[in-house]
Every structure is written in structure tokens, then in C-alpha cells.
């Protein structure tokens, strides 16, 4: 979606939320202060984000919304609270990142999802047999609404997130699924508050916030470690380059192309991060090349792949990554075969991405010529499906326009 559209759409949604919220507040039999209090809570929760395993940052707003859904029974008041809350949240989001478009495009997703959440709660409460005092009912309804919220949000994200054209919708969907632990803890905190507030009053605040704070701490720690783990691997992968045994920047560029291909063909996020590590380290075997005995004896691509795999497999957690590196030199099929199923998809991607980077930087070819070269090798060496995806990735990056 274009930047202007996102801008206008988010402004329109803000005004719609404000208008709809005020109208609903006017028709609701409830007093104004609980509505405003709830709206303020929902808006303030948008101040805080929690890093989720997918690398995204989630707003705590849904936690507050869950609590509100437990506490406010009147449908008009509920809708009004959440709509006004989102209107206030707009001010917060835009005030925090005035020039940043991602804040606005996030807002689109959040509003759509939260309104879907509110409507689901309201609709499910309509049937005659519904009893607001039966907590099991309320919990079931809010849980269903939570699932709706999650789906709509993921859907909205994958639509609004399309400024990155190289991401497949499947990848984004799987990425959103990674975050279930964070979402469950947000819902639980909200539900505990909603259930406890009528009985415990303000004690419900520490009751909901303390356990969430522990989880929050854990999520933040996890995220930080994940980042430094990536940095560590990146640093180690560059050692052969620093030692002058491999082309400078090759592993970094190969990894970026490989990850883009994997996202384009919709690999699972776990596999993508494995592929990222493997492609970063695919040349680590070159470290052995400062061994005089080895230089005298000569070596093949297979040797390099095997040595690299041996080094990587020293780390027990990277065994799978080592396997991918070990297989990276293999052609995607052997003579007389349609396809060699024993070659992992990730290894084939590394082969293509690495060859593309070599064509650009060692042979100094233009992107188009490099693609032609890879397509020429598609009889046995490079899987045509992956080279096709590479072409999409390269053109989405705008590298082809220069020709």
C-alpha cells in the first residue's frame, strides 16, 4: 500500500473511531466515567510494546481490551470504550513516531483487529440464554473473540505489510503464529484482571500486572539473546573474510538473498532462521585454507562444505545448520532423475544465492547476466524454482531497473 494511502486511511479511521465512540457513549445507559477510564487504559496500553519471538513488537492494548470486555456488559458502552480507546491510541502512536509510516500502518491493523474483537464479543452475547454472571460463558466468548482478533490482525498485517512485496502471505501468517505465547500471556493478564476486579478492586492491578511483568521480562530477555546470538554468528561467519580467505561481504550478502528467497517461497520462520545461519556460515570451511598442507594438496567444493559442516557441528544446537552447509554443494538432481529429494531445500537456496553473489562480485556481471548464468545452470546445478524466486526477489529489490 502506498504511503499516502496509509496516511489518509489511518487519519480516516481515527476520525471514525472518535465519532463512533462518542455516538455509542451517548446512546449507552452507562455513565461516562467507566467508559473514559477503560478507553484511557486501552490507549495507555498502546504506549508499551513487548518483543515477540517473530521479531515483531506487540502492543499491550489487547490485554486492556480483554479486561474491558469482562467488566463492561452493555454492548454500546463496550463498543464506545474500545473505539474511544483506539482514537486516543492514535494520538499516542502518531505522537511517538510522527514521521514514521510503520506506526500508522500498525495502527490500521490494530484498529481493524480490535473492532473485530469488540463486535465478536457483542454479537456472541446477544443470544437469550446468555448470563453475564456465568464466568465460563464470558471467558469462552472472550476467547473466541481473541481468536478472531488474532486472525484479523494477522490478515490486516499481511495486507498492509505489502509494501514489502517479497514476503509471501504464508510466511507472514506463520510468523504471526510464532507469537502465541506472548498473546496468551496478554489475554490471561486481561482476563485475570477482569475476573478479579469486581471482587478484589484495586488489588486486581498488581494481580494482573505482576505475573505479566515476569513474562514481559522473559520475552525481552529472550529477544535480546536472540539478537546477540544472531550477531555472534554473524561475527564468527566473517572470520574467513577478515583473514582474507573469502570475498569480503560475501556471506552477509548471500544470507540476505537466501532469506529473501525463503520468504518469497513461504518457508516456515524456524527454517528461515536456520537457513539464515547456514548461509551466513556457508563459507566458514574456508578457515582451513590457511593450512599450508591443505593448500598444497588442493581441495574441492565438497571438501569446503564438509569442513564447514564439521566446524559448525561442534556446536550441538547447530547440528541441523551444519547439515545444510554440508549439502550446499550438491546439484538439485543427478543425471536421469527428475529431482533429488535428499537435498534439503535450504541447501539448494544457499547454492543459488551464493552463486548469484559470486557472479555479481567475483565475475562482475550485471544482475540480469547473473540471472541468465544461473538459469543456464538449471539442468543440474540450480533448481529452476529457486532461480525463478531469485528473479522475483531481485526485481522486487529494484536491482533490475538499472539495466
Amino acid at each position: 500500500m502506498a504511503e499516502r494511502e496509509v496516511h489518509h486511511l489511518s487519519l480516516a479511521l481515527f476520525l471514525a473511531c472518535l465519532g463512533f465512540g462518542s455516538w455509542m457513549a451517548a446512546t449507552s445507559p452507562l455513565e461516562l466515567w467507566p467508559i473514559l477510564l477503560g478507553a484511557a487504559a486501552v490507549a495507555l496500553a498502546h504506549f508499551v510494546t513487548v518483543p515477540a519471538p517473530s521479531g515483531e513488537h506487540l502492543y499491550l492494548g489487547i490485554g486492556a481490551a480483554t479486561a474491558v470486555a469482562f467488566l463492561i456488559d452493555d454492548p454500546a458502552a463496550l463498543l464506545s470504550t474500545l473505539a474511544l480507546g483506539m482514537a486516543f491510541a492514535y494520538l499516542i502512536l502518531v505522537a511517538r513516531r510522527p514521521l514514521d509510516m510503520s506506526g500508522r500502518s500498525h495502527y490500521l491493523g490494530e484498529v481493524t483487529a480490535l473492532m473485530a474483537f469488540a463486535s465478536t464479543v457483542v454479537v456472541l452475547r446477544q443470544p437469550a440464554g446468555y448470563n453475564p454472571d456465568a464466568h465460563a460463558w464470558v471467558l469462552a466468548i472472550v476467547a473466541t473473540a481473541g481468536i478472531v482478533w488474532f486472525s484479523v490482525r494477522a490478515l490486516a498485517r499481511s495486507l498492509v505489510g505489502l509494501e514489502r512485496e517479497d514476503l509471501s502471505a504464508r510466511f507472514l501468517w506463520l510468523l504471526a503464529l510464532e507469537d502465541w505465547a506472548v498473546i496468551v500471556s496478554l489475554f490471561t493478564a486481561g482476563a485475570l484482571f477482569g475476573l478479579a476486579f469486581p471482587h478484589m478492586r484495586w488489588w486486581a492491578i498488581p494481580l494482573a500486572l505482576l505475573p505479566y511483568a515476569f513474562s514481559h521480562l522473559a520475552f525481552v530477555r529472550y529477544n535480546n539473546t536472540r539478537i546477540t546470538y544472531g550477531q555472534t554468528i554473524r561475527a564468527l561467519a566473517q572470520i574467513p573474510e577478515v583473514a582474507g580467505l573469502a570475498t569480503s561481504g560475501h556471506s552477509e550478502r548471500t544470507a540476505s538473498v537466501a532469506v529473501a528467497i525463503a520468504r518469497d517461497i513461504g518457508m516456515h520462520p524456524d527454517e528461515v532462521s536456520e537457513l539464515e545461519y547456514a548461509s551466513l556460515m556457508h563459507d566458514i570451511g574456508r578457515i582451513t585454507l590457511n593450512e599450508p598442507a591443505i593448500l598444497r594438496a588442493g581441495y574441492t567444493d565438497e571438501d569446503l562444505a564438509r569442513w564447514g559442516a564439521q566446524i559448525i557441528s561442534e556446536a550441538p544446537f547447530l547440528e541441523q545448520v551444519g547439515e545444510l552447509v554440508r549439502e550446499q554443494h550438491r546439484p538439485y538432481r543427478s543425471i536421469g532423475e527428475e529431482r533429488d529429494e535428499t537435498v534439503p531445500l535450504a541447501s539448494k537456496i544457499i547454492k543459488v544465492a551464493s552463486a548469484y553473489d559470486q557472479a555479481l562480485f567475483d565475475q562482475m556481471l550485471s544482475p540480469v547476466d547473473a540471472l541468465e548464468l544461473l538459469h543456464l545452470g538449471s539442468t543440474y546445478d540450480y533448481d529452476p524454482e529457486i532461480t525463478a524466486s531469485l528473479r522475483r526477489v531481485v526485481s522486487a529489490r529494484g536491482d533490475l531497473r538499472t539495466v
Binding site: L195, P206, P211, Y229, I287, P292, I311, A315
Partner: protein, 400 residues
């Protein structure tokens, strides 16, 4: 041996004495649920070298104390605590000492702590008027449990290993803070169970319970994956170091040994969790720079010429700069880069201009590094058996 028997007898004695009157916590199914959850969390528990982390099993025990506040909380928590030390891994490895001692130790500290809890909040109904009282009681019990546990573990360590205290008492305050939080949270969770559950219907107590357990579960799970990731990072670096050493027969195992010696020295000097870990990491990476140095330079039997020496240092610095880009590794790289600096501020400063004395960590690393270099075989000379006095004398130059 005698100690283990003593602890088992003490723990079993307390359990029997508690159970003898025949009053069991009510309802029994709730106790079974809590015991199962407690055991589950103990089985999946991971060790995190950190002060701020709460123990999920302690949280479960204290929550159980509040939930059973009106029917034998001491018995309930003693039973939960008694079950937790028996873990499948102990049976597989046929270990009996640790679970036996833990059994006694946990039953003693849990029953003492919950007795204090029951004394501070005797048979009171858990409602909004009494909640502050329960918060106080649970916090006090939590702190007592922590202190008892700490003291008993210290005692066991001293008797079994004859070692000095693992962690000095001065750290107690840092450790106590999470216990305060645990106590507060347990009182609130247990209070929520009673207060939401006014009419006492089964469905409602199940909802409240499952929400409470989901809270436990998610934070435990995240901490587990956090710990696993850290282990992965650790093992990755370790693996690379190993791979480097595998290529060079002479330095094989050097890094592991230096890490081990540094850790020993650090422990002796009273370093605790995070600081000790940092030191170990620094030791692990102190030679990674050599990965990038041409092998014939590392192996060269003759003295290096000035030019060659410079070439070697350039490569080492390039790698150090590379690792310093990792935020988390940056302080460790600094330690590792300074381990050639001398105590008096002279000596080789790792190429980066730095004034003053190197940090304690860098000095420890220097000692450990020299010690291993002197006692093992290097390409330019054979090994010598450790002769403590002579080694200490030459080490004195670089650090004290």
C-alpha cells in the same frame, strides 16, 4: 552419606509428624493438581544465572499455601515440596545423594516457612479486608523459605565439599528482592482464587485455577527458551573455539582449560553469577583472534620476526573488532583484549590504546592463560610439569 541419611530422616520425620493427626487438606483433588503442577515445573526448571528470576516452584508452593489457608496449609505445602526433588534424570543416572538431601532440605524449609505463614494468618478467611495480612504472611514465608534454603545449601556444600561459601551473605539482599515479589504475587493469586470463587462452584474454581496456571506456564516456558538460547549461544562459541584448536595439536584444550582456571580463580575471589559468567566468556574468546592468523605463523618454531608479529596482531585485532560489534560480547572482548597488559599498566595493551591498570578480570585471565601456557606443551618448547613456586614467581610480573 551420613548427611543424606540425616536429611532424609529429618524430612520424613517432619512429614510423618504433620500427617499423623490425620487432617488432610481439603479438597484432595486440588492438592493433587497443585502437586502435579509443582512437580512439572521442577522437572522443566532450568538454571538461570541471575538474581531477578523467581522460582516457579516456590510460587506454586506459596500460592498453594494461600489456597489452602483454611485447611492445613503446612501439610499441603510439605507434600508438594516433598515430591519435587524426585526427578526422572536422577533415576536414570542412579543418583540418590542429591534427591535425598534435597528432599530433606526442601521439606524442612517449606514446613518452617508455611508454619510462619499459618502463624501470621491463622485460619482467616481470604477476603479483601484480610488480603494485606495474607500478603504480609506470604512475603514473610517467602523470605524465610529463601533464607533457610540458602543456609541449608551452604551448610551441605561446606560439609560435603569442604569448600568456602559459594555465594557470600552480602549478596543476600539481591537474592531476597525476588522473594518479596514471589510472596506478594502468591498472596494475590491465592487471594484471587478465594475471592473470585465466592459461591464455590466447581466451574469457576477451575477457570480461576487454569488462568493462574497459564500465568505460571507461560513465564516458565519463556524462561526455558531464554535459557536454551543462551546455552545455544554459549555452545556455538565454544564449538568454534574447539574447531580452531582441533587444527592445532599444541593448543588443543587450551581455551577450555583457561576458562576452567579463570572460573576457579573468580570463584575464589568471590565473583558471583553474572560476573563469573562474563569472565568465563572472556576466557572462551581470548584466543578466537587466532582463527584468522595464517597457520604457519601460529606453528612457527622459530621466533617471529617483527613483521610477522605485526601481521599476527593485525589479524587478531580484526577479529576482536568483529566480536566487539556484538553488544553482548563487547565487555568480554575488552577483557580478552587486555589480558596481555601488565598489572602495573605497562606491557602490551592489545593494540588499543588504554591507560592504567587492566581490570581484575583481565588480570585473572592473564594468570590463567600464563599458567596453562607454562604447564602445557607449545610449539616453541616442550611442556613442564607445574612447579607452583616458579610459576607463581613469573606470574607475579603480570598480575598480582
Amino acid at each position: 552419606m551420613l548427611l543424606a541419611v540425616g536429611f532424609v530422616l529429618a524430612g520424613a520425620g517432619i512429614l510423618v509428624w504433620l500427617l499423623l493427626p490425620g487432617r488432610l487438606p481439603d479438597p484432595p483433588w486440588l492438592l493433587i493438581v497443585f502437586a502435579a503442577v509443582g512437580v512439572y515445573f521442577d522437572w522443566t526448571a532450568v538454571e538461570i544465572n541471575d538474581h531477578l528470576v523467581i522460582s516457579t516452584s516456590l510460587l506454586v508452593q506459596l500460592t498453594a499455601a494461600v489456597v489452602f489457608a483454611d485447611s492445613e496449609p503446612v501439610v499441603a505445602v510439605a507434600i508438594i515440596a516433598a515430591l519435587s526433588p524426585f526427578q526422572p534424570i536422577d533415576f536414570r543416572l542412579r543418583r540418590w545423594f542429591e534427591p535425598a538431601v534435597n528432599f530433606g532440605q526442601l521439606v524442612i524449609s517449606a514446613s518452617a516457612a508455611i508454619s510462619l505463614f499459618a502463624y501470621l494468618a491463622p485460619n482467616a478467611a481470604v477476603d479483601s479486608q484480610n488480603l494485606p495480612r495474607f500478603v504480609l504472611a506470604a512475603t514473610a514465608a517467602s523470605v524465610l523459605q529463601g533464607a533457610l534454603n540458602f543456609t541449608l545449601v551452604q551448610f551441605i556444600f561446606r560439609t560435603v565439599f569442604g569448600a568456602r561459601q559459594v555465594r557470600p551473605w552480602s549478596n543476600m539482599f539481591n537474592i531476597m528482592l525476588p522473594y518479596l515479589g514471589t510472596g506478594l504475587l502468591a498472596a494475590l493469586l491465592g487471594g484471587a482464587y478465594h475471592m473470585i470463587n465466592v459461591d464455590g462452584t466447581l466451574a469457576l474454581s477451575l477457570i480461576t485455577l487454569s488462568l493462574i496456571f497459564v500465568v505460571f506456564f507461560v513465564s516458565q516456558m519463556t524462561f526455558v527458551s531464554y535459557a536454551r538460547l543462551r546455552e545455544a549461544q554459549d555452545s556455538t562459541l565454544r564449538g568454534f573455539v574447539k574447531a580452531l584448536e582441533a587444527k592445532d595439536l599444541y593448543t588443543r584444550g587450551h581455551t577450555e582449560r583457561v576458562a576452567y582456571f579463570s572460573e576457579l580463580i573468580g570463584t575464589r575471589m568471590g565473583f558471583n553469577g553474572t560476573r563469573l559468567e562474563k569472565l568465563r566468556w572472556a576466557a572462551l574468546i581470548h584466543d578466537v583472534g587466532k582463527l584468522a592468523v595464517p597457520r604457519d605463523l601460529i606453528r612457527k618454531r622459530a621466533r617471529l620476526s617483527g613483521n610477522e608479529y605485526e601481521q599476527m596482531q593485525t589479524h587478531v585485532h580484526l577479529v576482536e573488532d568483529l566480536l566487539a560489534e556484538v553488544d553482548f560480547l563487547q565487555p568480554m572482548v575488552e577483557i580478552a583484549a587486555h589480558h596481555h597488559a601488565h598489572f602495573d599498566g605497562k606491557g602490551y595493551h592489545g593494540g588499543h590504546k588504554h591507560e592504567g591498570t587492566p581490570s581484575v578480570e583481565a588480570r585473572i585471565l592473564a594468570v590463567a592463560d600464563s599458567f596453562d601456557a607454562m604447564t602445557s606443551t607449545r610449539s616453541y618448547r616442550g611442556g613442564s610439569t607445574p612447579e607452583p613456586s616458579s610459576i607463581l614467581r613469573s606470574s607475579r610480573r603480570s598480575s598480582r
